[in-house]
Amino acid sequence: MTHSVASGKSIRFLYIASIVLLCAWVLGPLYLLAVNALSSPDTINQFPMNLIPEFDLESLIFFANFYGMLDALINSITVALFTMCFSICLGAPAGYALARFDFVGKELFRVIILMTRAFPLPLLALPLAVFFIETGLDDTAFGLSLVHTTLALPFAILITFSLFSGVPRELEEAAWTLGCNRFAAFRFVILPLILPGITASAIFAFVISWNEVFASAVLTIQNRTLTAFLLQNLDTAPLHLKFAGGFILVVPAIVFIFAVRKYLFAMWGISNR
């Protein structure tokens, strides 16, 4: 008896310790990033390091005024918005088809969707760059968003697939018997029910594009996105600029992902709370 209680206790201890460790691993750097981004340049450069944020906006203001930074920010947002639209417009119909139709090769199709994630982008980068220069797509927000769409699309398809699967088929059928064609049933019954999930899926596509650095760095020169711009200036920029840049990059991603987390779980079939 006592033995099993003891081992139960130690398992519990291990469990808690692992969670604390994991959290520290993720949250520690984020915290330091936030502290430094919100401190004045002088504080950042001094030793020992400051662990309490000063809420001094000087670094962030400096960042905002850094030459080219604002353009890069606008580029990032533009590309991400394009990516968001394309992913949903292409992904939602595919997700619907997966959820509602039986067709030959359906399972294979689902595997292939995931396989696209296994393709290393660097491998594609050179031929893509050449192709983009030939077609004049290089260095445009539109061209880059196409690449980002290929990255975000698998997730968009899988999330919308799980959303459509979650809407009982009878609701759609009831709509058909009540005078709807397929489109009207979608518009008035399915869409309102899955709209929150679609929004989540769109935000996720936005974040994928926002965070992507490799394709952005290769395929843009004048119209750099924020990630590519920061990468380019990483060596030369002062420390406080790096912190501010990192902070600006990370915050939207974290906020958005936190907002849509339950849909990301749904994608993998994990029930959410």
């Binding site: 009982p168 059928e173 058909w176 018997t177 005078g179």
Partner: protein, 347 residues
């Protein structure tokens, strides 16, 4: 006029034959019940009529319109689903009015019809609620009101009461019958519950393994089952089956009791007797009492006749003990006779 004609409908899923050559005519304003065990193809047939499933073969007609190639929305049919299919993001009023809105009915007419049908189903106080705030029975009422609001030629219902508890089911059953009679629509109603079928239907179609075995008025089904399957399916407690052997032309003997029946040239015959169609007597079928269950007005007595189980419903003042030997006299008029190989009724 909404006469439904189903002609040679068949449906296969892969290699599985869910429906085999179904032929059925439902008269204008008739209440037709499809009755059969789970998995016999009732839902599939209903969905083919509704246009939610396409038949492998055959035709469906409503009046003089062939509809099996039309999309569901153009068939003039409303359907009540087994799990109600209430739209969760709409209020009760919006649910009932949804089909009318889709058909571009003017707003004041829409409002009138929503209110009329809500009243009919006694849910006028729930119009502003969402389906999440309704009980099962209330959802059921919304589903029926929504279907009726379309004022369809035909209303289809797939086990609409099966998710309700027993008391509610009884109440809704009576109400449904009244409401549908008033509405002058032709109705096809699917159920696996024979009591429900008998009490609701103008006619019942008994289905078995993808086929319609018999379509008839409830009492006709009860009195004159066309096959041994129908005889065993309809009635509770079920009919008793015994095998009798041929003595001379038209006389059949079983356990020394000779009964007059049809004259067919077979060695044996299958006969079916309802438990209530026997009476206690000094002669007749010798039976050993196994179990006596008082049902209030009657006694349900389970006996052995030869090696066959035989149930009898007897007067409650009969003095019968378990283990006792009794004689049961069948009412010869009420005996049904079935061919020993085809299991079809013979007369």
């Amino acid at each position: 006029m909404a006469i439904i004609e189903i002609k040679n409908i068949a449906k296969t899923f892969g290699t599985y034959e869910a429906l085999k050559d179904i032929n059925l005519t439902v008269e204008d304003q008739e209440f037709m019940v499809l009755l059969g065990a789970s998995g016999c193809g009732k839902t599939t047939l209903l969905r083919i009529i509704a246009g939610l499933e396409s038949p492998t073969q055959g035709e469906v007609w409503i009046g003089d319109r062939r509809i099996d190639h039309l999309p569901a929305r153009e068939r003039g049919i409303s359907m009540v689903f087994q799990n109600y299919a209430i739209f969760p993001h709409m209020t009760v009023a919006e649910n009932i009015g949804f089909g009318l809105k889709m058909s571009k009915i003017p707003a004041d007419e829409l409002k009138r019809r929503v209110e009329k049908n809500a009243e009919l189903m006694h849910i006028e106080h729930l119009l502003k609620r969402y389906s999440g705030e309704l009980s099962g029975g209330q959802r059921q009422r919304v589903a029926v009101a929504r279907a009726l609001a379309m004022e369809p030629d035909v209303i289809l219902m797939d086990e609409p009461l099966s998710n309700l508890d027993a008391l509610l089911r009884l109440e809704m059953r009576a109400e449904l019958k009244g409401v549908l009679q008033q509405s002058n629509t032709t109705a096809i109603y699917v159920t696996h519950d024979q009591v429900e079928a008998m009490s609701l239907a103008d006619r019942v179609s008994v289905m078995n393994a993808g086929e319609i075995v018999q379509a008839d008025k409830p009492m006709e089904l009860y009195r004159n089952p066309a096959t041994q399957f129908v005889a065993s399916f309809i009635g509770s407690p079920p009919m008793n089956f015994l095998i009798a052997s041929n003595t001379s032309n038209g006389f059949w003997v079983i356990e020394n009791e000779t009964l007059s029946g049809p004259s067919i040239a077979e060695q044996s015959i299958l006969l079916a007797i309802r438990p209530e169609d026997v009476r206690l007597s000094d002669s007749g079928l010798p039976a050993v009492v196994r179990l006596v269950e008082p049902l209030g007005p009657h006694l349900l007595v389970t006996t052995d006749v030869g090696s066959n189980q035989f149930r009898a419903i007897l007067d409650s003042d009969s003095q019968i003990q378990e283990g006792q030997k009794i004689f049961l006299k069948p009412n010869v008029e009420r005996i049904r006779w079935f061919h020993p190989e085809t299991y079809r009724a013979v007369f």
